[in-house]
Symmetry: C2
């Protein structure tokens, strides 16, 4: 997110991310991807990746796409329109030990509110955007976090790793 | 600020700061105070410190208190109701090489918008508040920053030091 808390501009612009793009630096992303076994993502975010012409990167694992529509599964992509708590319970009885919430902000905030997020890895980009889509909504309850790690990169990106404090 | 960008709760509550209070740890504050020669602060923030029963800590230096009222100076406290750009110009022709904006958010945002803030030192407290008074307002123009330093403390506080990127 930007220092002022936005993960995209008012029209979903992501161009502010280009200022931290560096050859050979993925900010721990590929290592992180190896640690996860399940992905959940909102349909709007999923469609956005596909619409930009990218292949969705986690198709080697079950990907639960959260939506209000009833849609049939396609390969590893499972569309889900039911209750979030139930879904998480269900995943956890199966493979799900390390479930990655890959956006968007609405899904992340619902999971935070339900106290279903155990860890947050947040990258702060050195920019103020002034407006846009906030990562954290004003609907959240107050909750304490524990800092597990902080990493500073030469691009000015600071990556903070928190765990929910129980 | 909290990880979600608040410097106080909805009713100016500051109790979330107590979770990073540690005996003998001032997070660089006294060292920082030695480096500044002038303070500017909004009247509401200044009055809040005094109302809480504290002596305002920077009275050894000129303190410009920004307000819409016309009030007489008291010792080093100079009340100022004019134009911010003019005030900064005036201070800079005098002693002002290291001017500290000691709150509140409204004054800080005006200065940011006028591109009169050269450096930002920001401490991120490991907590989500969900609501309150934001440090960065939605009136800001987009601006790039340069990370000068990042410090991590055992309490989980992360202090980020940015300079305005010209």
């Amino acid at each position: 997110m930007s220092l002022d808390g936005y993960i995209a501009g008012p029209n979903d612009e992501l161009d502010f991310l280009s200022q931290v793009e560096m050859e050979g630096e993925d900010y721990g992303y590929s290592k992180f991807c190896q640690q996860i076994d399940t992905v959940i993502i909102g349909k709007r975010s999923f469609d956005k990746v596909v619409d930009m012409g990218f292949e969705y990167p986690h198709l080697d694992k079950p990907v639960y796409i959260f939506t209000r529509q009833n849609l049939p599964a396609k390969g590893n992509c499972i569309y889900y329109s039911g209750d979030l708590v139930q879904l998480l319970k269900q995943i956890r009885t199966q493979q799900g030990k390390h479930i990655y919430c890959d956006g968007g902000a609405e899904l992340a905030n619902q999971l935070l509110e339900l106290q279903l997020i155990d860890e947050i890895i947040l990258s702060i980009i050195p920019v103020l955007l002034g407006k846009g889509i906030r990562l954290f909504r004003e609907t959240l309850s107050s909750s304490r976090l524990e800092l597990k790690e902080s990493k500073t990169y030469s691009s000015g990106l600071v990556q903070l790793h928190y765990a929910r404090k129980v």
